[in-house]
Amino acid sequence: MSRLSLSVVGGYLGAGKTTLINRLLSGDHGLRLAVLVNDFGAINIDAALLQSASADTIELTNGCVCCTMTGDLFYAIGDMLDRVPRPDHLIVEASGIADPAKIAAVAQAEPDLRYAGILTVVDGVNFPRYAADPLISDQVKAQVRCADFVVVSKDVNAAAITSLEAGGIHHWHSASDTALIEAMLLGDLDVSAPRMDEANGHRPYVQWSTDAPPACSRAQVDAMLATLPRGVLRCKALLPDGAGQIWEIHAVGQVHEVTTRSNAAQTGVVVIGPEGAVTLTEIEAWWAHHTHAMS
């Protein structure tokens, strides 16, 4: 059975996590989504998608939404793994004060899960106040710091920009840019069929791919991953190791997973990052540097 990708949506109370999840639920990404939320009441379900609803589960034609309480969260994730058919992607809404990293860690620990990123929603109006409140400042800032992808809801004001930058966050995106968020969190990076539609209209993100990577050692793989341009959100690669095996690489933010597979699948590399955070030139330079080292 294929592994279940898990993304965590974090952010303080009122930041707009549920709004964002509602948008993902109604998107036409074609995925069977499973979503764990804190509050059912705020979830909007298109009647056309609704199959049935009970006290703690809403069944959809394309997935399900389950309400969970903090203490049961990990077992609720286990329930999602046991669902038949297994969903394509699991989105966990962290509670308003929770540390999304503590939840996302299970995706690295559990072999049946695959880490698919932490997205933190920042309240563009109130964030400076929260970040300055000694009672909650540490936890609110940690929610942003651990994020692979930061989006800002409402109108980001100057004070919020200052607060974010003080926290080392230099790139963020609009929480209403659903196309970007879908691509970053849910988009399939298909190495065997790199998209050739770079010219087909404007996309809010940068995607780069190659289908002829040279053979490389594990040390070279590690070096490549360590130097991925900062704005790259995800990288998937199948690289020959020169000895008949394939390195399978999944990178999301700072989380890298390298395994080997023996079947000689088509090799290739796909890299994706939000526009503004990374450029094609940076990615090409990175790749050139490493292919030079490999040859």
């Binding site: 009441g41 903090t70 203490g71 049961d72 990990f74 990293a101 690295q108 072999p111 009672l135 909650i136």
Partner: protein, 541 residues
């Protein structure tokens, strides 16, 4: 045959000042009809004299105001804690004092259990295993091929053997927060926090939800309580889904079930919905399942450095702890519960958590006056005189975690908050002098259920190393006995029904093998518990 039964006892300690002691108690319809001498029931009709308690000292059934249903269910697995404990069936389990003893204990489980059963130890505390940190090589001696796991007493860590590591796919290439690695780069077997523990728990089939809510767990809870002399107990942070509730109503409703359970619904999500659910639950309450309260988790634990503490913080310079519920959520929940008439049990370990919660309670009291609310701060470990005074002004009860003094007192003095603040921890004397509605508790299974031991802790304030932590906060034995009976009953707003042996109250008794008022204070914890009487039915061990 008469429906009046007159029990004779060696001594009855009533906890009712109008008649502190008696030799006989008359019971009808599960309630106390009268007390005094052997004629105490005669005025009501023909009586049956019952001498089955004639050699015992009888007290009001103990009331445990802070425990968790898991306390019974854990016994489905192998106890490997440092201290001696008695299981629900009365078997005394010796404390595990070193790694060899642990290997032997778990090895016995391997040989007596079916091959597919998980080998799962619980109750282990690394503080007491001083030679070397528990690691997979110890547990590999238990079994080379069956997965073996030992859960630490704090429920946040565990140690597993190589087979369990392999089962979860953990090896030298694993780079996961919480999977501890040794100098050689391989996992040591120690897994920290739920994310790292979960893959092993899942594959061993250990589900904490079932441990908190299954027929076996509820039955075990009844047995554990009976052996501790407890006739009313809480389950603080219950999920109470519909199917759980049906099960609990059915099992607790059985006439031979010896326990009244007071669950508190875990509060998370939306305050209004939680209040709706609490009130719907309240409508289904029975005598033995008292529903309607909620539990708020505000901060973490002091020994885990996750409690929210005020200046000057932790002595080791650790960052302040974490909120499990944001302060503004504490305010929102408190306001809604107060408005809707839902009693709250509010977990506060650190003094900052206590202060924020009192601020929230004060705001709620101004917005929605409810003089009889009797919300309860739970644990109250770092509350000083000023915080207790505020609680008293607001009519907020305090249930103090007295067992911590003995179990963690030394660590608090040396590692967490330092000797001065440790000496005023769990300040029961101060709480009483401020006129608080107070109780003391075990937080079982975090520490063992045993109100007499809890009372002993509050009376003596002795730590494991033999130090007395803050002598001025010691209380007397009669005061401590009051806290584990009437005090706890008042925190549950059940003091008109239980907590003392008074005419009209429920005939719930703790049956003791000695007189707690006659032994030395240091021997209070050793007074034997023979069983209980619940609603007039005798349940001796």
């Amino acid at each position: 045959m008469s429906d009046i039964r007159v029990f004779r006892a060696r001594k009855i300690i009533t906890m009712d000042p109008t008649q502190p002691e008696a030799s006989h108690v008359a019971v009808r319809d599960g309630r106390i009809l009268g007390l005094g001498d052997d004629t105490c029931g005669d005025a009501w009709g023909t009586v049956t004299h019952d001498d089955c308690l004639a050699d015992a000292v009888v007290m009001p059934g103990f009331v445990e105001g802070h425990a968790h249903l898991m306390a019974g269910a854990m016994w489905a697995y192998t106890y490997v804690g440092f201290h001696d404990r008695i299981d629900p069936d009365g078997v005394q389990w010796q404390g595990v004092r070193d790694a060899d003893a642990m290997i032997e204990r778990l090895g016995a489980a391997v040989s007596t259990s079916p091959p597919e059963a998980p080998i799962f130890g619980w109750g282990f505390d690394p503080i007491f295993l001083t030679s070397e940190r528990l690691n997979r090589t110890h547990l590999d001696q238990v079994s080379g091929d069956r997965p073996v796991a030992v859960l630490f007493s704090n429920f946040h860590l565990m140690c597993v053997n190589s087979a369990a590591l392999a089962m979860a796919g953990y090896d030298a290439s694993t780079n996961v927060q919480g999977v501890v690695k040794g100098p050689d780069g391989t996992p040591t077997g120690e897994l920290q926090e739920m994310a790292a523990m979960f893959p092993v728990l899942r594959r061993m089939g250990i589900d904490f939800r079932t441990l908190s809510q299954s027929a076996e767990a509820i039955e075990s809870y009844g047995k554990v309580a009976k052996r501790a002399g407890v006739t009313t107990i809480t389950d603080l942070y219950s999920m109470l889904e519909d199917e759980d509730l049906d099960l609990m109503l059915r099992l607790t409703g059985a006439q031979d079930y010896p326990l009244r359970i007071v669950p508190a619904l875990g509060a998370s999500g939306v305050p209004q919905q939680v209040a709706d659910k609490a009130l719907a639950l309240k409508a289904r309450a029975t005598d033995k399942l008292r529903l309607g309260a909620v539990k708020l988790m505000t901060d973490g634990s002091i020994q885990g450095w996750t409690a929210r503490v005020r200046w000057p913080g932790y002595v080791g310079g650790q960052p302040n702890g974490i909120w499990n519920m944001a302060p503004e959520e504490i305010f929102a929940f408190t306001a809604e519960m107060q408005k809707r008439g839902v009693q709250m049990h509010i977990h506060v370990n650190g003094d900052e958590a206590a202060e924020v919660s009192l601020n929230a309670l004060e705001a709620a009291a101004r917005a929605h006056p409810w003089p009889g609310a009797r919300h309860v701060l739970q644990h109250c470990q770092m509350m000083d005189r000023a915080l207790f005074a505020r609680a008293a002004e607001l009519g907020v009860a305090c249930n103090v975690f007295a067992n911590h003094l003995w179990y963690f007192g030394d660590q608090h003095a040396s590692l967490t908050i330092g000797p001065k603040r440790a000496a005023r921890m769990d300040a029961v004397r101060t709480a009483l002098s401020e006129g608080i509605v107070a109780a003391i508790h075990s937080d079982a299974p975090v520490t063992p259920l045993g109100p007499l031991f809890t009372a002993w802790c509050a009376v003596n304030r002795v730590t494991m190393s033999g130090n007395v932590l803050g002598k001025t906060e010691c209380i007397t034995v009669p005061e401590a006995l009051e806290l584990i009976t009437m005090g706890a009953a008042r925190t549950l707003r059940l003091d008109s029904e239980i907590g003392s042996i008074s005419p009209g109250k429920r005939a719930d008794f703790a049956v003791l093998g000695g007189d707690p008022l006659a032994v030395r204070a240091m021997d209070l914890k050793d007074v034997p518990v023979l069983g209980t009487v619940f609603g007039g039915h005798v349940h001796l061990s």
